[in-house]
Symmetry: C2
Subunit: 221 residues, 2 copies
């Protein structure tokens, strides 16, 4: 029973911390806000996580684990496809479309885990001391596998600069709808990204991704 309670307190604090850090940032979030949101005593932070910074690190750890678990299947699928000798461009393109579509869902939908996304986006813009882990365990592997796919589709080697640049521009297509969300909503007169809006974004992005790949294809024009 004491184990049960322990876990409940620590994990309630962790979950609340995801929300609060996402909303106010590390500096903007106070320990009092964190414990009030979680409904736990203020001493729970040093007790379970050593310090406020330790709690933040635990949040990052949790995000990495969660996101990797969610991506695992898709990444494996792409990895296996890339190792097949008879992979067609059509199949590769379908894999990329699928990846982009689910990426857009995770990034923009309020249903999945908006707070984790917020924190990840914040870390990109001001990398803190945890950014190295973020990069090594999550960003690099994901970016790499996408680069492999892109490289195959434009007829280049996966280590080449063109493939990396091209991959980054493909990501930029939809990441901007998160980083410049407020601008987009106001310009389009939208209240939020609902189902209809998400579909419009996906359609535009997929069309553009295809156009970009065609424009960067090396051999057969």
């Amino acid at each position: 029973m004491s184990d049960k309670k322990t876990k409940a307190t620590a994990s309630r604090l962790l979950e609340a911390a995801i929300e609060v850090f996402a909303k106010y940032g590390f500096d903007g979030a106070s320990t009092r806000m964190l414990v009030n949101e979680a409904g736990v005593n203020i001493s729970a932070i040093p007790y379970y996580f050593g310090s406020k910074e330790g709690l933040y690190e635990a949040v990052i750890e949790h995000i990495i684990t969660t996101v990797l678990a969610r991506q695992e299947e898709k990444s494996k699928e792409i990895f296996q496809a890339l190792n097949k000798t008879d992979l067609t461009k059509g199949q590769a393109r379908a894999l990329l479309h699928d990846f982009v579509t689910s990426f857009i869902d995770i990034l923009l939908s309020q249903r999945t885990s908006p707070s984790m996304v917020e924190i990840m986006i914040r870390e990109q813009i001001h990398p803190s001391s945890v950014f190295d882990r973020f990069y090594d365990e999550m960003l690099k592997p994901t970016h790499e596998i996408l680069t492999h796919l892109t490289a195959f589709l434009i007829g280049r080697k996966p280590e080449c600069e063109e493939a990396i640049l091209c991959t980054h521009t493909i990501l930029g297509q939809f990441v901007i709808f998160k980083t410049h969300q407020e601008l987009m909503l106001r310009r389009a007169g939208w209240q939020q990204y609902g189902l209809r809006e998400m579909d419009a974004i996906k359609m535009m992005v997929l069309r553009n991704v295809d156009a970009i790949l065609d424009a960067n294809r090396k051999n057969e024009p």
Copy 2:
């Protein structure tokens, strides 16, 4: 002479504040950091700007003014071109290329004003109370004029959703090189965005912009 000194103190504080707010964010920057960086007394903040928040507002004001002044010529040029009845697609595309190129320079070059860009990017991600002014005076007019240009190039009306979405994806192409700068540098093995790197980015982005416009063109395929 007292006027001279006044101006010197207030403006030194303002300029230092741009650097410090850019580096640490509003919450992360303390009044002591601000005045130390500026080499002025701590009382200068409430004396000249009322409060730390007032100083931040003055920084935003300064950024808006500076950026608008820098864009004024190009915006006017585009505005006049769009009002010509005989504007060709080629001319419009050249104007867009020119705008995108100088946008990339401002956004990514260390020479121009990296701190102002940092603050602008931060405001996009967590809009604060000053975001409205930011949007009304800077973002909206700039986004609108780009949308007009894009709409003309894809054969749509400037108010239509497609044109707004397409404009946003075009911006995303290169904004991601700022928002996800650390990721890009590490993936490419670059130390910074130097001249060579900027050229590689510009070449890729302009090629993709053309491809996107062609893919979204309504009438003549």
